[in-house]
């Protein structure tokens, strides 16, 4: 025992020396958390950082900090409101007839709308090697040889950087890039229907791009022009749209319309840079509040405040306005202050939820979403159903922010199916009966941890046309009783089912039970539980539900071909306009009629709805538009092509040192508004993460004692062997 104590004592004395002020388990380099740096995570590597290509929220979360399209959403105003970002004012819109003559906005002769954009004069790009010019005015890094690229692994490795002012041509250049078919812009086909001359330009420039690429030449788009996109001078640009398309303003707030400097486009077309993964798809060049300094999609992305960022200030609201819009007063304290507040942002790849959650609790991430695994630890539901923070979270000073997402998840009927589809009164009643029987409240409680609200139609809260209370209630599925929605009874559903020709779920014609088929990709334990629940909902009406499971590719194929009967699907809004939801039910977008490309996957076609949609989509928000939307909602509720499922609710947890985080379902460039108190963060991280040394000491003790015992045993054996030998 003496030897063990002799070995352990020095260790006990020395151990405190290793216990530094920085916690051992900090995943960041020493001292980094004391800087004005935000620490966040991403769950899958971004596929694209080219604004032309990127169309997913995890990529936009990064890209939108770097690129600046002409417009942005006001951070605080509700409902969501657009405002100029790089423009001096909102685009001026003029209306033209077929001959190009200006006409009144309400004229029936309107053939084109022209959007006039005036740029601010104080906007400069981030520093970048693409802008560096030599003494003759040529791009210094425009023709890089293999030797010149030795030792260059990132854009930051270039010896020289420069900037230049944002000009109108950069926005035109972005639209021209979009037109090159080889660039695979996801919105090219949609935009061709609106931007005058884009389709013709696309055909021509695609040929040119093909020829240039075959020869290994760089394609500089400055020498080409689109008929409907005119650069008037360095600060003025106009875009001509076919007919009226008020939603075009929303598109102007998306990264697809972010400016692309020709220098960067030409710079990144060099083969030597492509071979080193240095492309515009991985190293963006923007005018935004931040620029990318580290791009390692398998590990870390790092943004740094752009030293050339133009003047921008935290928005202001009066307390009355804030109260009216439901904005907490804590969000107003930084009003008028220069942006951005945070100097660096570090995104770390976290594929698994457990490490992500643990690091958040340890203070190493400043904010976290609430996943299904962490829900019970983070959130408590009161007896009245109110959602709040759990006691342990409150104790840690964590705050919870929730918002209804502009999304919908629904159960779709294939309207082309002979059993569940069709527009006869019987078919409608069958779908209505099924809609009543699907207990969405139970679904939200069991499978979503109350993180959602039952949908009353296709429009979620925050979208023009969505109505709350009695007015917004779907009368087919709910009754309004005692100031709240009450799901209609199973008896009512059964009555409808009987009227549809299936009393107690038995076909009156064949005498056989009604059997329906549900296509899904759900597998595994969670999937099985969900499918069991789904079967029970149909069994309540005596309907047999057969689950057909397939992989995602086959599932998509079935939906495209219209060979499904029932399936679940979802939609995330691109912009906060009812058109962006109601077009999911527009007959012209029916999947089976559009070779699988239409967005209307339930193949719903109601001429009256379609007529109203055509009328509504070209209108600005107004009481007249609202009246039309209400008519449309009445029609689809009665036809019931979907079981109006769920609008999900996002939950975000933040530490007490993280300020100005306001959930905004549309805006992505919101990092510039956020602020952190790094010194408080360091204090709390140290307080929450002291190394627990007792288990280490006990382990050492056990090992040493074990070794001692083994040594003794060995010695004893050796001695007994010797004695035996003698």
């Amino acid at each position: 025992m003496g030897i063990v104590i002799r070995l352990l004592l020095p260790l006990l004395v020395l151990l405190p020396l290793f216990v530094e002020a920085t916690p051992w388990n900090s995943p960041y380099p020493k001292g980094e958390t004391a800087d004005n740096t935000l620490f966040s995570a991403f769950s899958s590597p971004p596929k694209h950082l080219d604004p032309l290509l990127s169309y997913s929220s995890n990529e936009w979360a990064i890209l939108s900090q770097i690129y600046e399209p002409p417009l942005q959403y006001h951070y605080l105003k509700r409902p969501y409101t657009l405002e100029p970002l790089t423009l001096t004012e909102m685009p001026r819109i003029t209306y033209l007839d077929a001959h190009g003559k200006q006409v009144d906005a309400n004229s029936s002769a309107v053939a084109f709308s022209e959007y006039h954009l005036e740029l601010r004069s104080d906007i400069y790009y981030q520093n970048h090697p693409a802008f560096v010019k030599d003494t003759t005015g040529q791009l210094r890094y425009g023709h890089l040889s293999v030797e010149a690229l030795e030792g260059i692994e990132s854009v930051e490795d270039f010896a020289q950087m420069a900037t230049r002012r944002l000009v109108a041509e950069d926005y035109a250049y972005a639209i021209k890039r979009m037109a090159v078919r080889q660039n695979h812009s996801p919105i090219l086909d949609s935009m061709q229907a609106y931007i005058v001359g884009l389709e013709r330009f696309s055909e021509a420039i695609t040929q040119i791009a093909h020829a240039k690429r075959a020869l290994g030449e760089v394609l500089d788009l400055r020498g080409y022009a689109i008929e409907g996109v005119k650069v008037e001078d360095e600060r003025h640009l106009s875009v001509r749209i076919k007919g009226r398309y008020p939603q075009f303003l929303y598109w102007l707030s998306m990264n697809f319309f972010a400016p692309i400097p020709w220098e960067a486009d030409c710079f990144y077309q060099q083969a030597g840079l492509i071979a080193k993964n240095l492309t515009l798809d991985s190293w963006p060049v923007g005018t935004g509040a931040y620029y990318l300094v580290t791009h390692n999609p398998s590990q870390t992305l790092r943004l740094r405040a752009n030293p050339n960022f133009h003047s921008a200030y935290y928005p202001t609201l009066t307390p009355q306005e804030a109260e009216q819009m439901g904005i907490p007063t804590t969000m107003l304290t930084d009003g008028g202050k220069r942006l951005p507040f945070i100097q660096e942002v570090v995104y770390t790849l976290e594929k698994e939820r457990i490490p992500l959650w643990s690091k958040f609790l340890q203070g190493y991430y400043d904010a976290s979403a609430v996943s299904a695994e962490s829900f019970n630890q983070a959130v408590s539901i009161s007896a009245s159903g109110r959602m709040g923070l759990s006691a342990s979270m409150r104790q840690q000073g964590i705050t919870l922010k929730s918002a209804i997402e502009p999304s919908i998840f629904y159960l779709a009927f294939n309207m082309a199916d002979p059993v569940v589809g069709g527009y006869t009164p019987q078919a409608r009643k069958l779908r209505q009966a099924i809609s009543i029987a699907q207990d969405q409240e139970e679904y939200i409680s069991i499978f979503m941890n109350e993180r959602g609200i039952p949908a009353q139609g296709p429009l979620p809260a925050g979208i023009f046309g969505h109505l709350a209370g009695k007015e917004g209630t779907n009368p087919i599925v709910y009754r309004w009783e005692g100031g709240r929605r009450v799901r209609r009874t199973l008896e009512e559903a059964k009555r409808l089912l009987a009227e549809a020709g299936y009393p107690e779920g038995i076909s009156a014609k064949s005498g056989k039970p009604l059997t329906l088929y549900y296509d899904t990709t759900s597998t595994g334990a969670d999937g099985r539980a969900l499918m069991d629940w789904r079967r029970k909902q149909f069994a309540k009406l005596g309907i047999v539900l057969v689950i057909r499971t397939s992989d995602y590719n086959r599932f998509q194929e079935k939906v495209r071909q219209g060979t499904t009967q029932l399936f679940s699907w979802g939609w995330n809004a691109d912009y906060p306009d009812p058109e962006n939801f109601l077009f999911l039910l527009y007959g012209g977008n029916a999947t089976i009629d559009t070779n699988g490309t239409g967005i209307n996957s339930s193949n719903y076609k109601n001429p009256q709805f379609d007529r109203l949609f055509e009328q509504m989509k070209r209108m600005p928000n107004s009481p007249k538009r609202l009246a039309i939307i209400r008519q449309m909602l009445d029609i689809v509720r009665a036809d019931a092509p979907w079981v109006w499922g769920v609008h999900p609710k996002s939950l975000t947890l933040t530490h007490r040192w993280y300020h100005n985080l306001l959930p905004h379902a549309m805006a992505n460039n919101t990092l510039k508004y956020r602020r952190i108190d790094a010194s408080l963060r360091v204090t709390k991280q140290t307080e929450w993460n002291p190394p627990v040394l007792l288990p280490l000491l006990l382990l050492l003790l056990v090992v040493l004692l074990g070794l001692r015992w083994l040594y003794r045993s060995y010695e004893k054996r050796e001695q007994s062997t010797l004695q035996g030998d003698h």
Binding site: W24, K276, S358, L361, N553, L710
Partner: protein, 325 residues
């Protein structure tokens, strides 16, 4: 021996073609080029024109195995299988479906994979051999029996359990090391400690049992009896006589895995956020990125074949009775 190695390399060519063929068939049974395009281009606004241009640019518009639109040898040559396979045999991995250079990505990701796999391999080897020798030393004792029971228990538990328990205890509760993450250089040591420890512990059961049985086979040999008869201590007998002779079967199992260490660990890298080749492969499978999947399968096969050749060579080095011809 050189002739033998050349022959083995030539044998490898049909094996690699076979592996590549199986990869092609399995991948394209599940994913059509249209599916791949959709996976890359996203769910929204995907038109047939967009899919067609995506496929044309990456060569996925070619038939898989037989091209009816051309004549002669091109009917086989101008196909996706031949075009893609030929480049692989030249170790030209090309661009991924998301247009990143696969060769550059593999080079960058190899180091993190090795940072976990190599120390795990070496420490596990050392630990397992030491423990096995210890058990042989105390064979038949309570210690030996207890350790064998523990070894079976360790073997019976899923590797995921060790990861979760390791992260819970060492990172979450005791705050010794970061729960996940990676950094290169000395700063990164704290990130690899836990995965290495888990890798060693998870493999200890099977390793110790296997090595123990190898050593026990040797312990009753005449040369051991002779060594004891010379009056050598038991420790000296074990380390100087038993260990070198027991190493040959150990080498058989060990050398073959050395090249595969470059490929990383699929699960470990994913759980610990290690940006290695294991997670690269998993990401590619999830993203339906065929270019990466086929490159990684090909690379894995090549490394496995290299491992087998190295094993054969190592026989000749450790056992003078063996010669390659």
């Amino acid at each position: 021996m050189i002739g033998y190695i050349i022959r083995r390399i030539l044998y490898a060519i049909p094996i690699l073609i076979g592996v590549n063929l199986i990869t092609f068939i399995l991948f394209f049974m599940i994913n059509s080029p249209d599916d791949m395009a959709r996976a890359q281009l996203g769910a929204k606004q995907v038109t047939p024109e967009l899919i067609a241009s995506w496929k044309a640019e990456r060569g996925y518009d070619r038939p898989l195995f037989f091209n009816e639109t051309v004549e002669g040898i091109a009917q086989v040559g101008d196909t996706l299988f031949v075009q893609e396979s030929l480049k692989l045999f030249l170790f030209e991995f090309g661009l991924s479906d998301s247009h990143r250079d696969i060769g550059a990505d593999i080079q960058r990701r190899m180091a993190p994979s090795l940072a976990i796999a190599l120390p795990t391999f070496l420490i596990a080897l050392l630990t397992n051999i030491s423990l096995a020798l210890l058990l042989v030393l105390f064979r038949g004792s309570v210690f030996d029996t207890t350790m064998m029971v523990v070894a079976v228990m360790i073997m019976s538990i899923s590797g995921l359990f060790y990861i979760i328990i390791g992260q819970l205890l060492l990172s979450k509760l005791w705050h010794w090391v970061p729960i996940s993450g990676y950094q290169s250089g000395w700063e990164g040591v704290k990130f690899v400690l836990l995965p290495i420890l888990i890798g060693v512990v998870a493999g200890i059961g099977s390793g110790v049992r296997w090595y123990r049985s190898i050593f026990l086979e040797q312990i009753h040999q005449d040369y051991i009896r002779t060594a004891r008869a010379k009056g050598l201590s038991e420790l000296r007998v074990l380390f100087w006589h038993l260990l070198p002779n027991g190493m040959l079967p150990i080498l058989t199992g060990v050398v073959v895995v050395i090249p595969s260490l470059f490929m990383g660990s699929l699960v470990m890298e994913s759980f610990f956020g290690i940006p290695g080749l294991g997670s690269y492969t998993i990401d590619a499978i999830n993203a339906q990125d065929f270019a990466i999947v086929k490159a990684m399968v090909f690379l894995g096969s090549v490394l496995y074949i290299v491992g087998l050749i190295l094993t054969d060579i190592s026989y000749t080095l450790f056992d003078p009775r063996v010669s390659l011809s």
